[in-house]
């Protein structure tokens, strides 16, 4: 059975998803070198693939943005966005499993070097759940002006909460116990 979302909720989730990927792609394209280095830090792709991959990922994000804001393609866009986030979560999970906690997540935006951690996996899981909801078709219900208020206010609130969670993760990375994780424990200790 397909769950039918309320049009206001669907519109809000889709707009918020578009905003999220727009910001993500913007950060990656504005500083391609930093993103390429972060990507290399994951040690998942051969070095010759880094340059194309660092271009393909933000372009895929922009593609998801365009699809999300096109009513006919919104469901596909939301699913594509969820798939992208799952790929990122997989890359983070693999490196956490390898014990490489100190690498840059590549998601910090300008000047935001940030180690990866389980917090990012939780965040991605939440975002994927929201995008899967957004991929469901909305139920037919006439759109009223109050839905407009819900859309604008809801997207603003989601953006603020996302930014707050982001700062929270950054603070945790900075404070006490996590500070040790930021220092690379490679080299002599592990050999």
């Amino acid at each position: 059975m397909i769950w039918e979302g309320d049009p206001a909720v669907q519109a809000m989730l889709r707009a918020a998803g578009a905003l999220l990927f727009c910001a993500a792609a913007w950060h990656k394209l504005r500083n391609p070198r930093a993103f390429r280095e972060a990507l290399g830090g994951y040690r998942l792709l051969p070095a010759s693939w880094l340059r194309p991959a660092a271009l393909v990922l933000p372009c895929a994000e922009l593609g998801a943005v365009l699809a999300l804001v096109t009513p006919a393609l919104a469901a596909a866009g939301a699913a594509a966005g969820a798939a992208l986030l799952l790929v990122y979560a997989g890359a983070i999970g693999v490196n956490l499993a390898r014990g490489r906690r100190s690498i840059d997540c590549g998601c910090g935006g300008p000047g935001g070097r940030r180690p990866i951690g389980p917090g990012l996996l939780w965040r991605n899981a939440g975002l994927v759940a929201a995008l899967l909801l957004a991929a469901q078709p909305p139920s037919p219900r006439p759109w009223t002006w109050l839905d407009g208020v819900t859309l604008v206010a809801g997207v603003t609130t989601l953006a603020l909460l996302y930014a707050a969670f982001d700062v929270l993760l950054a603070n945790r990375a900075r404070s006490g116990a996590a500070r040790d994780a930021e220092i690379l424990e490679a080299g002599w200790a592990t050999r």
């Binding site: 208020v149 603003t156 700062v167």
Partner: protein, 203 residues
């Protein structure tokens, strides 16, 4: 009734947005506080040869194949800064510009060696990218073992007689500078300095 719900709904949205903004602002302030109270000196572990002891003397070969002896009294009367780094350590990379500026500024008083370990091919790109071959880059597992380097970037400051004057984990410019400060003040580390200061205040 309908109007009342609409008014209350809009007011609640405004309140939710205001609270969201407030939470964000508070979290940012916490971030600033974390930065302010972070340690301002190099952290020294219990491992490794201690400050004031003679450094272990080791014969190693630098990147260009030149043999050199580390830890022995220096014939030119210069001190030695050993900075242990790794190509896979992002914090180390942020210190490299500082290393070259220290090299230039302190050339008459100090030799600076970057030390790492592992197979040479893992370091080729790193050395080429940052132009480290000229300045002195040493690949030696023994060196790291001798100073019992556990975490990176780790710095050891030796005086002209090969005695360890300061050492510690250096994560930033301030940490590295604190080593020089520690040498000038004759204390082993920032921690020791603070402890001493604390004792004086108690007395």
């Amino acid at each position: 009734m309908g109007d009342a719900l609409i008014v209350s709904n809009v007011l609640l949205w405004i309140a939710v947005i205001a609270l969201g903004a407030l939470v964000l602002a508070l979290l940012r302030q916490i971030g600033v506080l974390h930065e302010r109270i972070g340690p301002a000196g190099a952290l020294v572990g219990r491992e490794g040869p201690r400050t004031g002891e003679a450094a272990p003397v080791l014969d190693v070969v630098d990147w260009n194949g030149r043999p050199l002896r580390i830890g022995a009294p220096d014939s030119d009367g210069r001190g030695t800064l050993l900075l242990f780094v790794s190509p896979t350590c992002p914090v180390c990379e942020t210190l490299l510009p500082l290393v070259s500026s220290v090299r230039n500024a302190e050339d008459r008083r100090l030799r600076v060696w970057l030390a790492s370990d592992g197979p040479r091919e893992e370091h080729e790109a790193f050395v080429a990218l940052h132009g480290l071959a000229r300045g002195g880059y040493v690949l030696s597992t023994e060196l790291g073992l001798a100073f019992e380097v556990a975490r990176l970037p780790y710095a050891v400051l030796l005086d002209r007689d090969g005695v360890i004057r300061a050492r510690g984990l250096v994560n930033s410019r301030e940490h590295l500078e604190s080593l020089f400060e520690a040498q000038e003040r004759g204390v082993a580390s920032m921690q020791e300095f603070l402890e001493r200061d604390g004792d004086r205040r108690v007395a």
